[in-house]
C-alpha cells in the first residue's frame, strides 16, 4: 500500500531540486572547464594507455601490453629511481632553505619588502633559462659554484658530467626558485602569536626551543602544504634537467643520472612516437603521485597541527 507524501515534504523536495539546478548552473563554467581540460585528457590518457598509438594512425587496442612492457623496461626503473632520489634530496633541501630564509626575512625589518622581492624574482625565471644557467654555473672548469668552493680549497666536482654529482647539481639549481615557499612560510611565521613566544621565553625556552616547540607546530600546515606541492613538482621534474642534459644544446650528450621519469615519458611520446606506451607511463606516474600524496595526508594527521579548533 503506497502512501502519498505530505504537501509540505513535496514542496521542500521541489525547492531542493530547483536549488540543485541553480547550483549546477552557477558552477557550470567550472564543470565544463574541468570536463574539457582535466577529465577528458585524463580519461583519454587512460584509454590510450591500452593502445598502440603513434600519433598519426588510429590507436589499436592492445589491452595491458603497455603495462607489461613497463614492468620489464629497465629505463623505467632507472628513471623512477632517479626521480625518487632527486625528490628525496630536493624537497627537504628546498624546505630547510625556505624556512631559513623566511626566518631571516622575519627579522629584516624595513628591508623585508626588498628581500621578499629579491628572493621571489628567480621564481619568475623561465625553467628553460634555469637549465641553461645550470650548465654555466655548475661547469666543472669555470662554473661559479666551483669558483666559490675553490676559495675554501675545495676542488669542486664535474657537476654536469659526473653521474654521482648530476642529481646534487640539479638539487642545488632547484634551490634557485624557492621564493614562493619563502613567501608562504613568511606569511605563516607572521601568524605565530607573540604571547605564545613570550610565554615560552618566560618558561626559559631559547631560540631553538621556541622554534621547535612553538613556531614549527604552528606553521606546520604551511610546511605540510609546501611538502605536498614540492613533492608533486619534484616527481614531475622535467624542464631544467631536459634543457641541460637532453635538449637542443645537447643533441647527443646525455646523462643517465638525469633521466627523470617525465623526461623518459616525453621521449617515448614525442621522440619515438610511442604515445600508447607514454600514456601508460603517465597513468603510472598519476598512481604514484596519488599514493605518495595519500601517505603524506595520513602522516599529516599526526604531525600537522591546526590552531583554532578541529580541522
Amino acid at each position: 500500500m503506497s502512501v502519498a507524501a505530505p504537501p509540505a515534504r513535496r514542496a521542500a523536495g521541489g525547492r531542493r531540486r530547483r536549488e540543485g539546478r541553480a547550483a549546477l548552473l552557477f558552477i557550470s563554467p567550472w564543470l565544463i572547464g574541468f570536463a574539457v581540460f582535466m577529465a577528458y585528457p585524463v580519461l583519454y590518457t587512460m584509454y590510450l594507455s591500452l593502445t598502440d598509438y603513434d600519433v598519426i594512425n588510429d590507436p589499436t587496442f592492445v589491452g595491458l601490453e603497455n603495462y607489461r612492457e613497463l614492468v620489464s623496461d629497465e629505463k623505467v626503473t632507472l628513471a623512477l629511481r632517479n626521480t625518487f632520489i632527486y625528490t628525496a634530496m630536493a624537497v627537504p633541501a628546498q624546505l630547510v632553505l625556505s624556512l631559513a630564509l623566511a626566518l631571516l626575512l622575519q627579522r629584516a625589518g624595513r628591508a623585508a619588502g626588498f628581500f621578499r622581492t629579491a628572493f621571489f624574482l628567480p621564481k619568475m625565471t623561465p625553467p628553460v633559462a634555469v637549465g641553461v644557467l645550470l650548465l654555466m654555473l655548475l661547469n666543472g672548469q669555470s662554473g661559479l659554484l666551483n669558483e666559490f668552493l675553490g676559495w675554501f680549497g675545495i676542488n669542486g666536482p664535474n657537476w654536469t658530467t659526473d653521474p654521482d654529482w648530476v642529481k646534487p647539481g640539479l638539487v642545488v639549481m632547484s634551490l634557485w626558485t624557492v621564493g614562493s615557499s619563502v613567501i608562504i612560510l613568511l606569511a605563516a611565521l607572521q601568524e605565530v602569536p607573540d604571547e605564545l613566544l613570550d610565554a615560552a621565553r618566560v618558561d626559559g625556552a631559547g631560540w631553538w626551543g621556541r622554534l621547535r616547540h612553538v613556531v614549527l607546530p604552528i606553521i606546520s600546515p604551511a610546511i605540510y602544504f609546501i611538502v605536498v606541492v614540492d613533492t608533486i613538482a619534484s616527481l614531475q621534474s622535467f624542464t631544467e634537467a631536459y634543457t641541460a642534459f637532453f635538449g637542443a644544446g645537447n643533441t647527443t650528450y646525455s646523462n643517465d643520472a638525469a633521466l627523470f621519469y617525465a623526461i623518459y615519458l616525453f621521449q617515448q611520446a614525442f621522440e619515438f612516437l610511442h604515445m600508447g606506451y607514454a600514456s601508460a607511463m603517465a597513468v603510472l606516474l598519476f598512481g604514484i603521485v596519488m599514493v605518495v600524496t595519500a601517505v603524506q595526508v595520513m602522516l599529516s594527521r599526526r604531525y600537522v597541527h591546526y590552531t583554532g579548533g578541529p580541522r
Partner: protein, 458 residues
Amino acid sequence: MRGVRRISVAAAAMLLAGCAQGTGDSEDTSDATFDSDAELSGEVQVMGFGAGDEIATVRLDRAKEALGSEADVKLIEGDLDIQQFLSSVASGEPPALVYAERSQIGTFASRGAVVPLTDCIEGEGIDTSVFRESALGEVTFDDEVYGIPEFNVVQLTQANADLLEQSGHTIEDVNGSDWDAVSAANEDLMKMEGGNLATIGYDSKLPEFLPLWAKANGADLISEDGRTAQLDDPAVVEALEWAVSIYDAQGGFGEVKALRDSADFFGDGNQFATGVLGAMPMEQWYVSVLNDVSPDAPMAFDTVRDLQGEPIAWASGSAWAIPKGSPNPEAACRLARVMTETDSWIAAAEERVRLREESGGLFTGILTANEAADEAVREMAPTDGDSVWSQAVAAMYEANDHTFAMPANPAGDEFEQAWQDEVNKVLTDGKEPADALADAQTAAQEALDEAWATWDEK
C-alpha cells in the same frame, strides 16, 4: 542528485565518444596532378623553414615566381616542431610542405606522415640524378623517395696551427688517417694546470661522431637496407675504444667536456682563438663562424680521413617532404623543386658572394645535396689554397665528394638513441665499450625489428 548523475553520464559518454573517434584519416595526394607547366594557386603553408639569409630568400623568391601570383607562400618559421607537425597531420590539417632533417624522413614515411614523391618528381621534372647518392639514400625508404634533399653537412679536421707547430706536429697527424699519430699528438698538445685540464689536445667528439670513426675503421652502424644494427661489429668497438682513449688520456670525458663547454664557441673567445683546443673534427659551417669572429686565429684545416688516408665525411642535412593530406601538393612539389634546383643555388651563391664582397668578408662556399650546384658554386669560392681559409673551403668540397649517410629506417630516433645512450655510459659511467655496444645492439635491433614489423604488416 539525479540531475547531477545524468550530467555526469552524459559527459562521460561524450568523452568516450571522443576517445572512440580516434584521429581520423587524412586524404592522401593520389588525386594530385603534378605538371611543371600548370598554373598554380592557393595558399602554400611551409612548416619548419625560415628565410633567415640570402641563400634562403633568393631561392624562395625564385620559387614564388615559379608558383605565380595566384599562389601565396606562408612560412611557419623555426626548426620543425615534430609534435606540431604530426598533430597537424593527425588532425587532417597539415601544412602543404614540410622542411625536416633527412634523418627524420624514414620515421615520417613509415608512419604515413609524408607521402612518396614519385609522381611529384616525374610531373615537375625534378632531376634526381644531380643529387648526391648519400643524400638521396637518406630520404629513400623502402625503395621510394620521400624527400627532396637540400643542404649538406660534412665534417672537417679543424686545428690550431700554432699549437700543432709548438708540439712538433702537423695537420696530417690529427686528420684521423693514423689513430696512433692522433693519440700521440693529443698527449703532446694537451696541457694540465694545477691538476686541471687547461688545453684540450684532441677532441674526438663523442658521442655524436661514433659513426664517423666506425666508418673510418671500415664499419657501418647499420646495414644498407636499414634493417640490421651492426653496433657490436668489432670494428665499431675498436673505433669507440680509440675515441674514448683520447678522453681518458686527458683525465676523462668530464674534464674535456667541462673545458669545451666553458669556451665562447660562437664568439671571438672561441677555443681556437684562445688556444685551449688543439684539434677536432667539426662540421663545415664552423669555418664560416671562425672566419667571421676570429679571422686571425691560427687555423689549419684538412678533411677527416679514414685509416687508408682517404677523405671521409658523414653527411647529414635537410630535405623537403609533402605531408599526407597536404592541401596543396602541386604547389608544394614545385616549391621543393625550385628551392633545390641547380640554378637557384647558383643565384643564391652569387648573391652571397656579392654581399660578402660588400662587407669585406670571405665567401666560404655552400654545401648542398645537389652535386651539379656544388660544382658551379665551388668555382666561385676560393679553393686555391693561398690562405688558410681557402684551404678550409677546398677541404670542405673534398669532404663533400667522399660522404656516407645512414640509410632511412622507421626507427631512426630509437636507433640513434640506443647507441648514443650506451656511448654516454662509456663516457660517464666507465662502462666497457664492448659491453656497451653489445647492449646498444640489442636495444637498437629490438627497435628496428618492431618498427619494420609494423611497416611490413601495412
